[in-house]
């Protein structure tokens, strides 16, 4: 669990009404990658972080933030 990093993927998914699988398919990763990033168990690379932000059409700082 990353104690320093916070993310808003779950909230953004609910707003856009998409499942973890749909988000995973859209950015080309496994659902497991999305679920572990969302729960803070896994810290993604900058590339994945930017792809998630691009998918929601917002800056990466609005998806990930330091606690």
């Amino acid at each position: 669990m990353n104690e320093e990093l916070d993310n808003h993927i779950h909230k953004l998914r609910l707003q856009h009404k998409i499942s973890q699988q749909e988000l995973a398919d859209a950015i080309g990763v496994s659902r497991k990658t999305i679920s572990t990033v969302e729960t803070g168990r896994f810290t993604p690379s900058v590339v994945i972080a930017l792809k998630i932000a691009a998918h929601f059409n917002i800056p990466v700082e609005q998806v990930f933030a330091l606690k």
């Binding site: 995973a24 990763v29 496994s30 497991k32 990658t33 168990r41 896994f42 690379s45």
Partner: protein, 159 residues
């Protein structure tokens, strides 16, 4: 040339899970083989260990054959060195290999350094040094397999 067609994160995930299962089955096989050397008489325990050895050997063969189908659906690097494109799958693969490497290094160091010492041979008796190596390999494989299977089952219901 590397095969770049049909490589999905799910395929990589399935292949890594298969390798985890193979490791666990091989670990059981090696452990049963090592423990069989303790009991040379025909008792229920020796029959049980023999049966476990046979079942695990057949299972390892069958799962290994099944995993061969992934050679067409993963990159050559991914298939042989367990390096994957999907970040989480690659993270789990690297973590399990790193932990296994540490187990082998520390265990191997002890066996290589003290293996011939009289006190060590007395300590592990009635096991032989080769049985101890089998047990060490078994622990390493079990670490590899169980780590993969545990990490791959985490967050299964988080949707």
């Amino acid at each position: 040339m590397e095969n770049t067609v049909l490589i999905t994160p799910e395929t990589e995930q399935q292949y890594l899970t298969y390798t985890g299962k193979i490791s666990v089955v091989f670990a059981v096989f090696l452990l049963a083989t090592a423990l069989s050397s303790l009991d040379t008489e025909e008792t229920v325990v020796s029959w049980g260990l023999g049966l476990i050895t046979l079942i695990s050997a057949v299972s390892a063969f069958v799962i290994s054959l099944k995993s061969m189908k992934f050679s067409k659906h993963t990159t050559r690097l991914g298939f042989w060195t367990l390096k994957f494109n999907d970040e989480y799958v690659d993270y789990v693969s690297a973590l399990s290999l790193r932990t296994t490497c540490h187990v082998m290094l520390f265990g191997g160091l002890v066996l290589a350094y003290f293996g011939d010492d009289k006190w060590f041979i007395q300590l592990i008796a009635p096991l032989s040094l080769s049985s101890m190596i089998q047990i060490l390999l078994s622990i390493a494989l079990l670490t590899h397999g169980l780590l993969i299977m545990t990490k791959m089952r985490e967050d299964e219901a988080d949707e």
